[in-house]
């Protein structure tokens, strides 16, 4: 079946990263690292109050400091042309307004950018920033989710949109829950968590002319950033260039154009020089979004034999006072298991904080923590094996849309995972397994993630020397986009990966979506496939038209291409190379650009990726310390393009999930509405010593209905369900059910 979609030859199944050498030698250039002779440095000043207004800014001491070029605030900003005229007195922006940089004196959250200092050197800018005096008039702020929970409401966005998936949802019999044989109800809480990629967000903004802007900006979508900046500064789209070739991780924090980017562009305009602005680690907590604090109530009804008869899932997510951020929190519950009677509710709570954003596995990582923890609780209540409970409720078709799955090998994932892990050795009773004085727990959870494919273009170019350049304005925040695309092109064209260059991260390249929602391989991979296929066909026609060509009588199905040489069939000893064809036709280059997008199959099939995780934890009965000892993770994401990088991506998802489960929590001091976790000493992410070897298994069968390459994308599903698997393992080890992440020692002793 795979052969119908990809040529059989796999040049190098585990091609090393094409940019590996650049990354290990320090030669990969990230956003803050482009050299400019005339570069000025900017440092942001942010509000120290959570709500109120600025009453005075004394910038004089800073302006007089050595090397200072400008101190810019709402009082002297060159202005963002797209912002509406100021009102007097200033009025709070209605909900649904993207934050406006240096717009007026109003403060919406602690850490809001209120001024930027630009100086000749970084040291001068940092020093001068400490000299800016800002007076505020404070108003009472509300940042505490728990204290304000009762104010949560249906998002205005949802109220206006009757077809929104976040509308209240009910299917089946409303009496199913009250009449269920076994009932269970619990509340699960996820604290605010931050992406905290190792590379802080950074930008160099360069005004090439009054109407021409170039930015080297850390983001996950050069095309969307280009459109956004063009709109904000009222420039023709092509006059804005966005470059982001290397991105030091993002996990969702780079999906939007954030205020600091606009601040740097304004600063560069004001000082008429290239300006670099790098967020300090502390500002990474208030500047680029976060996974929102979310409270979920799960009620499950089942038969005594473990058949789900009713599920009620309610979620409340946190958002800012000026924007609504909605997540898929409750949506997975509608599709995951074969349950006839399901209700979901989703509410938002506006607080005086900055706006959250998508973080790896957005919504689903949150929602599946609750659903998969609740399933584990149900299994325990029924004295049923947790895996068996899931098998009994396996959904053979999408119960929400009443459509067949495009492909689903979840049972195969369960089988592979449980065998590799040794799940059969699990003793059912909590606290029943021990080793070396440590409590041993086995836990598992399912995962799923919806399939996303967006229209994408790619250009493939055959050069006179037989080398290939493929281009698309896609991104690589870490998964290895260029490597996978090179491999797709190599397979299609029959050219060695070494002779292929893939260009990305540049807004002047053919249109592609940003890197999010696990959509890059499905979308851009399809475009690269189609462009290379078109290029190959064009070259074969050109080859066949050469006088006496060995290709003129070849059957297209029998043609074999290896290392850039075309053989009429597998037995043939004579061949013609791509370079020969271009040489004969006196062509310096042959190129094809193709756009690839979904068709009617989206309405015929329900498209998801599925998987599962098995986790062993050891818990100290004395200190409550939890150590993850072993993880087996399985995923069915269709065809795997590059096994090596895919494995790394899965490992990364598991590591993120372990962080989510055991350590990550952004803590706010609500007296000031300010995070007390402001660095890596207070916001803990896993380190080497926290992470064991992780075993990864893929079903690796193409999903023939989703796209021409049969691949569904992996980034998100890798983390979905991991936190639940860890929590379930902790329960098995200790008998303590922790429903409030992270699972820290205080909750276990």
């Amino acid at each position: 079946m795979a052969n119908a979609h990809l040529p059989p030859a796999e040049p190098e199944p585990s091609l090393n990263r094409v940019d590996g050498r650049l990354k290990v030698t320090g030669a990969a250039t990230y956003s803050a690292e482009y050299p400019f002779d005339n570069l000025a440095h900017a440092v942001l000043i942010t509000s120290t109050i959570a709500k109120g207004r600025i009453t005075n800014i004394n910038a004089k001491p800073a302006e007089a400091a050595p090397g200072v070029l400008a101190v810019i605030s709402h009082r002297n900003t060159p202005g963002v042309p797209a912002y509406p005229p100021l009102k007097q007195p200033a009025e709070r922006a209605p909900i649904g307004t993207a934050f406006r940089v240096f717009y007026d004196e109003l403060i919406y959250f602690s850490g809001q950018p209120v001024a930027v200092v630009v100086a000749q050197t970084l040291e001068q800018a940092q020093q001068a920033a400490s000299l800016v005096e800002i007076d505020y008039q404070t108003e009472t702020h509300q940042t505490d989710f728990v204290a304000n929970r009762s104010k949560a409401a249906i998002a205005m966005n949802v109220q206006r949109n009757k077809t929104s998936p976040f509308q209240d949802y009910d299917r089946g019999d409303p009496d199913a829950m009250p009449s269920a044989e076994v009932k269970l109800e619990a509340t699960y809480t996820i604290p605010t968590q931050h992406h905290q990629p190792l590379e802080p967000h950074a930008i160099i903004a360069v005004w090439e002319a009054d109407d021409k802007l170039t930015v080297y900006d850390k983001n996950q979508g050069v095309k969307s950033a280009q459109g956004n900046l063009a709109q904000a500064f009222k420039l023709p789209r092509d006059n804005v260039k966005v470059n982001a070739q290397f991105i030091g991780g993002a996990f969702g924090s780079g999906i939007r154009v954030w205020p600091h980017t606009v601040a740097a562009v304004l600063a560069a305009k004001q000082v008429k020089r290239p300006v670099k602005l790098v967020l300090g680690r502390e500002l990474m907590f208030t500047s680029v979004g976060y996974r929102p604090f979310t409270e979920q109530k799960l009620a499950i009804g089942a038969t005594k034999t473990g058949i789900l008869t009713a599920i009620m899932h309610e979620g409340i997510g946190q958002t800012s006072a000026y924007e609504e951020h909605l997540e898929r929190t409750i949506l997975a519950t509608r599709a995951m298991y074969a349950c006839l009677n399901v209700s979901t509710r989703y509410r938002l709570l506006n607080l005086d904080v900055n706006t959250p954003t998508w973080m790896r596995g957005p919504g689903d990582a949150t929602g599946m923590f609750a659903l998969e923890s609740a399933l584990d609780e149900l299994a325990f209540a029924l004295q049923l094996d947790p895996l068996e409970l899931r098998l009994r409720n396996h959904a053979d078709a999408d119960p929400e849309r009443n459509l067949p799955w495009s492909a689903k090998s979840l049972k195969e994932c369960y089988r592979m995972g449980s065998e590799q892990f040794g799940w059969k050795n699990r003793k059912p009773e909590p606290q029943s397994m021990q080793t070396d004085g440590m409590l041993v727990g086995y836990g598992m959870a399912s995962s799923l993630y919806g399939f996303h494919r967006h229209p994408s273009k790619a250009k493939a170019m055959m050069q006179a020397d037989g080398s290939v350049v493929v281009q698309s304005a896609t991104m690589d925040i870490g998964p290895g986009t260029g490597t996978a695309m090179t491999q797709i092109a190599a397979r299609m064209l029959g050219v060695s990966p070494k002779k292929i260059r893939f260009d990305l991260g540049d807004s002047s390249l053919p249109d592609a979506p940003g890197q999010n929602g696990s959509a890059t391989i499905p979308s851009v991979g399809s475009a690269v496939h189609d462009a290379c296929k078109a290029l190959k066909n064009k070259l074969l026609i050109l080859g066949a038209s050469m006088p006496g060509s060995i290709l003129s009588s070849a059957w297209p199905d029998e043609i074999e291409i290896k290392n850039g040489r075309i053989y009429p069939n597998a037995e043939s000893r004579s061949s013609v190379s791509y370079a020969d064809i271009l040489k004969y036709h006196k062509l310096p280059q042959v190129e094809m650009t193709e756009e690839s997008k979904s068709g009617p199959e989206r309405d015929q099939y329900s498209m998801y990726s599925f998987g599962c995780h098995f986790v062993e934890v050891h818990v100290s009965p004395v200190t409550g310390e939890v150590r993850v000892k072993r993880v087996v993770t399985c995923a069915d994401v269709g065809k795997i393009i590059n096994d090596k990088t895919a494995r790394s991506q899965s490992i990364g998802g598991v590591v993120g999930g372990i962080g989510m489960a055991l350590m990550e929590e952004s803590v706010m001091d609500h007296r000031y509405g300010r995070y007390v976790t402001s660095d890596f000493a207070s916001y803990h992410i896993p380190v080497h010593a926290d992470i064991p070897q992780i075993e990864v298994f893929f079903v690796d069968q193409p999903d023939v209905h989703v796209n021409p390459i049969g691949a569904k994308g992996l980034g998100e599903i890798a983390i979905v369900g991991v936190a639940a698997a860890v929590a379930n393992a902790v329960f098995h080890a200790t008998g303590k059910r922790v429903r409030e992440l992270p699972i820290t020692v205080d909750k276990l002793v």
Partner: protein, 216 residues
């Protein structure tokens, strides 16, 4: 195998310093004002004598010498400049990364006189006379250091941002005799954070170099 050639004290001290190199214009400009003698720590000037604020920083530049990746440099910088910012902002050696600027992430790990050091926690001028090796100095010309090869082979990174620091730490970890087991490596590499979660692959890479398997 972990011999770090660039640490060898054989810099050409012919007085030309950067003239024969490809350093950037702004660096040359900053060198042009360098004092040729080492001066003691400067005092901070007050820019606004009538201000009662804390002294406003107009730090006089301080001259000092460094050997960076085998090249001896005579430098002059703001005394507030960290070793990390000197490398990244003035010497164009951006391979050393700024992850947190607080000594918590390890992305800025370099070797100072052969020891791993966090470049963000050290002022540049404090390194006077010392030998610095950065990620740019790890390979011998086109020949990658075995640890670099092993990171590629085992896919010991994704985004690549923590990678230079991981590599510099990994090389030191071996040198320090702390790479004798998986647990050992995990412990002695725990100062280097990786948000992509490449840890298991990094550990495999280090073990591979330890056992010499990277050439197999």
């Amino acid at each position: 195998m972990t011999d770090d050639k660039p640490d060898d004290p054989t810099p050409p001290d012919d007085g030309t310093f950067f003239e024969q190199s490809d350093r950037r214009l702004f660096l040359k400009q900053s060198l042009a004002v360098a004092s040729l003698t080492l001066s003691p720590f400067p005092f901070l000037k007050t820019a606004e004598p009538d201000s009662d604020e804390a002294p406003v920083g107009n730090a006089e530049k301080v001259s000092f010498t460094l050997s960076v990746n085998g090249k001896k440099l005579r430098l002059s910088t703001d005394p507030r400049t960290t070793l990390l910012d000197l490398l990244r902002e003035q010497l164009g050696l951006t391979g050393t990364k700024k992850g947190c600027d607080f000594g918590q992430c390890g992305a800025c790990t370099v070797h100072v006189d052969g020891q791993r050091v966090l470049a963000c926690l050290s002022f540049a001028v404090m390194q006077n006379g010392r030998k610095i090796t950065t990620i740019e100095g790890l390979a011998k010309g086109d020949r990658l250091h075995p640890m670099q090869e092993a990171f590629i082979k085992h896919d010991g990174f994704q985004c690549g941002y923590c990678t230079p620091g991981q590599l510099m730490s990994a090389v030191s970890c071996l040198r320090e005799g702390r790479a004798n087991s998986e647990a050992d490596i995990q412990e002695y590499m725990s100062g280097n954070l990786c948000r992509c979660g490449a840890y298991p692959n990094i550990v495999k890479a280090i073990l591979d170099v330890k056992t010499g398997g990277q050439n197999a």
